[in-house]
Point group: C3
Chain length 413, copies 3
């Protein structure tokens, strides 16, 4: 048991090195006949988009990592296992997405490859939020491998076959990651989770650590939604629309947090999460001409729905459906991701879709259905594999407790 | 009472959506006859300056937000209400500045619009520092609306009528924000503030959280001072001068903190704040040829004055003038902002002003006078409105205490 | 005694202002006959590389600063003295490197100057990690002056005379900084350090603060290793190789941390530090065509060696060699730096060195030898100066304790 984690980790790293040895090269090694793809222009493009990539990278490591440190005894695992998942996911995502898009041929590492690897990692980190505190590091490594494979498959179907539009990946990352994670959480459910667990709470400073995550996610979300835009005009639209969706979302998230709170008090869980829902919900149509006020309407709705989800839906999921969602990813990624898909359909109906896209209402609906369906089926199967094959799960008394996997120092002096 | 906050927040967001629906469009929708403003060049300019904007954005959300978390029981409000103010201010600032500069016509969203919105928000956040812990969220929302309107008016007068030079906005943002906030704090003064309040202190970790804010402000301050430069040479000068002012400022801030401390000990309040004074003081003349050593002299003076202000002036303000300045914004933004205005006059006398500027000593003096005068009068009127009309102020026993507005978890386990 | 710190700090700042007054100008003031160095192109180059510089700047201030906050009672000094050292080092490094490279003539401030100043500062901050908690602020100011002078000398020899390749400065910054710091730590050794000191431990939240440093270092390390690349292709290679070395390093660091831990438990010290060793070890050959899998092999080895160093070598160094290494810089910078030098020799043997470099195995070996030799001799002499001349050292009972130099608030409420 003590050996399973290091052996799996080393085995996976050795496998990655072998796969990369056979399949991965620098993009400057690629011989392309096209006039516009000399090494100089390829490298220029790489360096031009590199700052955008770094914004996304900060979101993945600092944003997701610290957002989950709100639990009082699970901060080491939140930020630490987040880094571990990211390091594995970035390698595996680079490989599996490259292989799919290049039909099994050599992968040449360009800026899009590493941005897309960050995206595939984001998907797993969203699912990690649903099972946080209830899963072992070994299980998370295996889940990373399985989920990214399914994610890449669905993303291929949505993008290449349906030719659907999903620039900020509301459907393929956010909704997918949330429902995949919820499906896994459902399979791994333990009846002890229904009782109030005092470890599943925050303390004052852990909530402040989580705000570090929230703020870096909030600041760089426009970069996330615009990083893979095809034209600079679409990039401009994606930045501006995401920005305005986010600012509007903050106002409604605060308003509804106070409305549903005892004596009008704000709840840190809502502020940490629901203020970001606008970034998710505007993702699919971020590069369409939805007007700044349209983006603000989407953001306002997302902030509202997200807070109401935390208040009324999450307790219900645990009690009725036996799905325990530690970070409430359903409210930050699931529901707003679905809103994102629906918003894109409305935007197309209203004629806001960009001229260059040939996507249709039907294709957007198919993309949403495919993302949800693949996520749920993939998550159920993954959950079964984790429960019955990779069954090194912590016992309930070690849920939400770093000391299961870490040497933990004293809390305070 | 419980309803006032959510209703005001929702009302303001609905108003913003309506205003944006009527007045705000993408800059790619603007038909311009000029040869050099095709959509492609406009979008290129946007993306070129976007990294600079993001630096400023980090300062606004993470920098200001965490700098104020030093209070041991007021971290949620510091970083949380900071985000709320920013989200409202970014919308309202975009609108009101756009309307003023375009004489009431359609606003086309370019990079300068969102940088300037960040600037108008910074002004309110500086004032927030003066009233931190003594004002309710509803009052802060109203103050955001009022202050940005006054700010935009003064900035218009300084820039368009006086044609004064203030690239880093030492006068129009820092001095203005500080004196506006102090005026509001003076009107809202309660006699209980004179007594030592044990809640108005830091604990060990809250001081470390505040250093996150300090460092991100320090690192990105050169971007703040150079973001709206007209030429790339001015941008270069503003970056280099701000950088050297800041490094020099750190040395004198540490030296004087130790000099005025008991047994030579350093005070975290000085380190968190006075090390940034060099960024403020060099702001107005940052794009002038003041030489690197000139920038270092300005920074050295600012660091010294700021520490002495914390030590000797702030207690005096509370006791004698009944103005209680929670974060000491007078020492970080007020005095260094005035130094910035004066430094620009000296720089012009010494012939350092850039060739392209037609500003004169007199115009700089007028700009400084206008900024201080407008701030104090605007702040007094705003304070009266907050005290007697939007009178949902916390009672003194809830000063500096998150539990007035937040569900607060346990401090430690 | 109380006066020594402020007087030294003010004296140094006045000296810097005088030196800058005589030697430092804007690069736009430089008259160059060359066609390609008009002011416009110089300024464009500055602004183009400015985002990379800022990444490095975040590493220096936030990365190094917070990485060292893991000690429970020494966070103020870690992040605070880090800022102080940086502010002095940035000025002195700009001057001394400029003078060396320009043979005593006027220094014109371009982007390379401020990137190199960050690099010289990084060297001191690495050494600071070795003596953390055992040295006074005055001693650190003097050490900053001495170490940067020696560093600049060695860097000049390595780059200009040996013409060796060391783009990510594994040898000239990391190995140099580590062995210089260890030499100083050896000279300043006190027998009390052999006993277990309960102040030399972390608490739960101090370990989370340290992870802020780790993550920002990890994210921006590719920028560090590529910032001074001569061609854009080398910049591309340095970014990609560093990225893949880092992701691989994380997997082996986690695996070996668990392998050597009690009952398979992870150790936060390893995670905070060894996950970064891949960035150090790939530094020297980062711009060579070592293939992504080659970078991953280097990273895997570095992560492994670093963890084993923490576990087995660091206790040995203290007990046998009387060298006490507070942060374990030998494991994060020393050993991986040496691996970096050796890897570059292997890479050259295997023909991976870039076409444009004329460096040879011999020159790389000479560079490694020079860096280690200069560091150890320079560190010993500096240690002797600090011990017997600048002898304001804290007494052992104040080791690892902020209260020696800071007004410290209560730990918790």
């Amino acid at each position: 048991m003590k050996l399973s984690f290091p052996l799996v980790a080393i085995g996976l790293e050795v496998s990655m090195i072998v796969l990369f040895g056979f399949f991965v090269k620098y993009e400057t090694e690629q011989n392309v006949q096209q006039q516009y793809s000399t090494n100089a222009t390829k490298v220029d493009k790489f360096l031009e988009l590199h700052p955008l990539f770094q914004d996304v990278h900060v979101m993945i490591l600092v944003g997701f990592g610290f957002l989950m440190t709100f639990l009082k005894k699970y901060g080491f695992s939140s930020v630490g296992i987040n880094l571990l998942i990211a390091a594995l996911g970035l390698q595996w995502g680079t490989f599996i997405q490259g292989i799919l898009h290049n039909k099994g041929q050599t992968i040449y590492i360009g800026i899009k490859n590493i941005i897309n690897a960050d995206f595939s990692t984001a998907t797993v980190l969203i699912s990690f939020g649903a099972v946080l505190g209830k899963i072992s590091p070994v299980q998370m490594l295996i889940m990373t491998i399985l989920e990214i494979a399914v994610f890449a498959g669905n993303e291929y179907v949505v993008g290449e076959i349906f030719q659907a539009s999903d620039i900020g990946a509301s459907m393929t990352i956010h909704a997918f990651g949330a429902y995949f994670g919820l499906a896994v959480a459902g399979v791994l459910y333990q009846s002890g989770l229904r009782r109030q667990n005092e470890k599943e709470e925050s303390v004052y400073h852990s909530d402040l650590f989580a705000m570090i995550g929230t703020l870096f996610l909030w600041i760089f979300w426009p970069s996330f939604n615009s990083a893979i835009a095809e034209t600079t005009e679409q990039q401009y639209l994606a930045i501006v629309n995401t920005y305005f969706s986010l600012v509007a979302c903050v106002l409604t998230a605060y308003a509804f947090s106070s409305l549903v709170g005892k004596r009008g008090k704000l709840d840190m869980v809502h502020i940490q999460n629901a203020t970001l829902a606008g970034g998710v919900a505007v993702g699919t149509c971020a590069d369409m001409k939805i007007h700044p006020y349209g983006a603000m309407i989407i953001g306002s709705i997302a902030g509202t729905v997200s807070v109401l989800g935390f208040k009324f839906l999450t307790p219900c999921l645990t009690d009725k459906l036996r799905i325990h969602d530690t970070c409430g990813v359903h409210n930050l990624h699931g529901l707003p991701g679905v809103i994102g898909g629906l918003a894109s359909i409305v935007a197309i109906v209203l004629g806001a879709s960009k001229a260059s896209t040939r996507t249709t209402m039907l294709m957007q609906a198919a993309a949403l259905g495919s993302s949800l369906g693949t996520a749920i089926v993939g998550g159920l199967i993954t959950g079964l594999i984790l429960r019955f094959i990779v069954c090194v799960q912590p016992s309930t008394e070690f849920f939400f407790d770093d000391s299961a996997y870490w040497e933990v120092p004293k809390r305070e002096d």
